[in-house]
Amino acid sequence: MADVLTVDDLNVTFALHDSEVHAVRDLNFTLRQGETLAVVGESGSGKSQAFLAIMGLLARNGSASGKAILGDTNLLALSPEKLDNYRGKDIAMIFQDPMTSLNPSLRVKTQLVEVLVRHQHQDQATALRNAIEMLERVGIPEPTRRANAFPHELSGGMRQRVMIAMALLCEPKILIADEPTTALDVTVQAQMLELFKSLTDDFGTALVLITHDLGVVAGLADRMMVMYGGRIAEKGPVDDLFYDPRHPYTYGLLHSTPHIGTRARTLTPIEGLPPSLERLPSGCSFHPRCRFAMPQCKTDRPPLTGERGKRSCACFYEGKLSYEEVVA
């Protein structure tokens, strides 16, 4: 599969009144056509900021360096005006809360038609026809009637479908979904996940799924990237990371997640708290919570090692830890 997005050495920093916070450091990855890449991490891991940076949506005190190559264009080097030619057209993003992402004072159809008029230069009538067709494709019943509704008249699941329809109007190469199902009930979430699956299969869209829910990752993603303290801890094919995690943090996340099919008396949590980005621990930023930490982990930062396009891991122990032995 062809690469649709290549990110090289992405760094994101935020200027505070007397200091600087590094939210994302040295992020490298590629995204392939039609694949689903899950980006997993806890609050403050940098998973959302990395993609907001690529979309040019950082808060005003934020800045990004590095490259995000789409086709032959570096998105990070574009002016906001130039970036508008790509946003919504080649690369689109949807967020957790559809209510705050839709304009509450405009009808659904007005918001959808605007996208097609702006990017595809369609006339109003054609744009409306295409908008209604897209609403139908994302599984909205009675799309003509719903197109006339205001966002508050729709349920949460329906609003998220409208967001997805809007994101897909120009058939983008890349769809970035930031916690798209976190606010939804489980039966509605299941509908959404099936919809995402058909998107990547039918449209060939590359999907970036930013989430903390490993259940959602397991069902949908081809590859995953685990972030901690602004850096990649481990990345690779989903099966490799789930069945043979090499970074202690990946292992910890997997064992903190309750599984509906089994009932263990106790979960194995990761002790301690996620670090504050303003005071990242020295060396490997996971070392204060890592049960395998050795002196070197406190002083040196483990590099991300592995083969390009396969799996890689940032841990001095990489591949040499046998968790079952150590834990037992």
């Binding site: 806890e42 609050s43 349920s155 949460g156 699941g157 329906m158 009930d185 489980v186 039966t187 509605v188 979430q189 299941a190 509908q191 959404m192 996940l193 099936e194 903390h212 829910d213 490993l214 259940g215 959602v216 990752v217 397991a218 069902g219 989903v238 099966d239 789930f242 069945y243 910890g252 996340l253 997997l254 064992h255 903190s256 997640t257 309750p258 599984h259 509906i260 099919g261 009932r263 263990a264 008396r265 106790t266 979960l267 194995t268 949590p269 990761i270 002790e271 708290l273 996620p274």
Partner: protein, 333 residues
Amino acid sequence: MNEMAPNTLLSVEGLKKTFGISVGFFGRPLTLTALTDINFSVAKGETLGIVGESGCGKSTLGRCILQLLQPDEGKVLWLGQDLTTLPEEEMRKRRRDLQVIFQDPLASLNPRMTVGEIIADPLRTLMPELATEERRARVLKMMEAVGLLPEMINRYPHEFSGGQAQRIGIARALITEPELIVCDEPVSALDVSIQAQILNLLTELKDEFGLTLVFISHDLSVVRHISDRIMVLYLGRIVELAGSDILHTDPRHPYTQSLLKAVPIPDPKQARARKLEGLIGEVPSPINPPSGCAFRTRCLHAKDICAAERPPLETGADGRQIACHRWREISAS
């Protein structure tokens, strides 16, 4: 009145709760029925999970148990004594035994009080006879039990992360040595690794203090993990109530079956082997619920009888309670 098992701590009988809502300025007032015909009991030392989707009434039920909301009809019996008719002053004394933990840990802590003051607050109001030193000693002991360091006693809530704030909330709930704690989505706002810490903490504290828990959550994996029995609510009614393992391995109500089929499994091979099934349609409005069985509009097994008659809550041979006209046929197929 039901005969009461000797170890029953709490029982709820015929509980109904409605809310009046007005639509628009001149709109006629409408009635939203949040809960109807709720009957169940909780034994001392058990954990009862309550699950259901947004708007099913699970949080309202928690608040009715705690008498933070007054039910329209029915009784909330605490060791046989009806709390709904208890005078204010008597209820205040009872509150020592019934405590609560909320979803949003930071929002439920007073930002202008120190951790020590927050945790001591229930003691000050509910056990005013305690001396200051005794109060402080209890606060420190409780902080240790929930994994907070003694030097944190003079800090303010904003200095804490979500997981630590939830530990403060738990310490505040436990300080009066209650019998029962209603946990309303206590881990939903927390990161995965912290969620596991708090779930383990609740399990440990339950054993240590001999607590009884009513655990309200939308997350079936979490509820399964912690509960002995689970109640499934749909549009304000109990549809199924059974032991946690039975409910998960052999769900009989079509709604319970749908809920379980929709839960993602954190295992790629298992996840690929099954198709997630969402439910068709939307949850009907609780202002104007469907006739008969409220779930029939989304149920694949619905027949004419489901629209005509409301299914009663029956008790099966395995002790499960279920409200479905067709549960025997469905489970046989």
